[in-house]
Symmetry: C2
Subunit: 249 residues, 2 copies
């Protein structure tokens, strides 16, 4: 294998993200509970509104905040108070300003890999917030380029690689999301390393088709990434590699 | 002058944008009026909240919608109803799904210029919404590259030009906003053509320092753009050009 360029996802690959969404949902649940709302019913409805709104709002914290506000009105049948709405605005802003908490080994993995590989940061969501997190993370200097896309599709990866004149065959993507980081990249002829996260949004979980699984590897933690990529580079593509191949993650 | 690459702003340069914000504010005013709020006072407060929130939410319709919701709670002192909040969510979604209305001459100007120049579309805001508008505009095919940035600063232009290996001296930016399209580009050694828009957000109006004014030109309409750029290319940089030089716009 002749991998040269390496792409990294950011949210839940380099730093904590999903936990902030879960914590916000817990605060939102407490608000709903104060209106006597059944939380089991409510949670399904919130999920539904959130996914439905992706087509208009895209991915990110503002999208999430607007969906929670819509859900609050919907679930309370309009009884939500101005004070309740303020609480949702506040938890949205708290998510935006939350400290960037790096995952263990992020800094070292990037430092090791960037000496031999041009690194790309490829993330989806709201650019203002994503750029702010990248700056505050202290990790910007390891990356040749930062790409923020509305959604991670085969087309969006193809455009990024074309712009950098990178052959898919020489590109490896590292991330926690099978849907966004792994499937689109291997579907276009690249390689991927899946690092499962403790918490992953269920919307980001998909099945990798059997014929593509040989292009997907799995490592358990960022600390294992650089040594694993070294062994990959020394290996053929058609024999078993030291780490187990990923199934559906 | 040896201009080769041409950048275009999109909102209020190629298609109608500010009018949608004004119409949304009119709907919002009607909502506030139904609570007996003094609109003169309210408008100042809404502007203040909107500009204050740019640091967290960035530019775009979701940012605007979240600011209106915050303003609705603030100005009604929490009396806003769930139904009122729904109206704000609805006007936000209406803005996102609004038909893209091209400004007169947009299609032809791009068709003419793209035969001799690589064109870049450079816009700020929420990528999901901006990409959707670009696709729906039918103008995507004229552009070599689309760049969506969180804010239009000298640094963001410098990064785009570096990535395309374009010398600032050979780059010309076309747009309606002195703050976002004109000043940062001429400040880094590029050239700019200002096409004033009927409506411009007051936040986007700045003074161009006298020493930079010789790098800024003004044309009245998109239909005059391609002929004007032709005359520019045939001219020196130190004599008066056929169109008047822009002052502060």
């Amino acid at each position: 294998m002749d991998i040269h360029w390496i792409g990294f996802d950011a949210d839940d690959t380099l730093w904590v993200n999903e936990r902030l969404y879960r914590e916000a949902r817990t605060r939102f649940d407490a608000l709903l509970a104060s209106y006597g709302i059944d939380l089991a019913v409510a949670n399904r409805r919130v999920d539904e509104i959130e996914v439905q709104n992706l087509q208009w709002y895209g991915y990110g914290v503002m999208s999430f905040g607007l969906s929670l506000i819509e859900a609050a009105v919907d679930l309370t049948q309009g009884r939500i108070s101005g004070q309740g709405i303020s609480q949702v605005l506040e938890l949205t802003k708290d998510m935006i300003t939350a400290e960037v908490e790096l995952l263990e080994g992020a800094e070292q993995a990037l430092a090791e890999l960037s000496s031999a590989h041009p690194l790309l940061l490829i993330t989806k969501g709201e650019p203002n917030h994503q750029h702010s997190k990248i700056e505050r993370s202290g990790l910007r200097r390891h990356f040749r380029q930062v790409e923020i896309v509305p959604d991670k599709t085969p087309a969006s990866y193809a455009e990024i690689l074309k712009r950098q004149a990178v052959e898919p065959e020489r590109f490896l993507m590292v991330g926690n999301s099978l849907k966004s980081d792994i499937l689109p990249v291997v579907a276009m002829g690249g390689w991927a390393i899946h690092i499962p996260s403790d918490l992953t949004w269920e919307h980001e979980v998909v099945e990798i088709p059997p014929e593509l699984r040989s292009r997907v590897f799995e490592v358990a933690a960022l600390s294992e990434l650089a040594p694993f990529i070294d062994t990959l580079k020394g290996s053929g593509t058609d024999r078993e590699t030291p780490a187990r191949r990923a199934g559906t993650g």
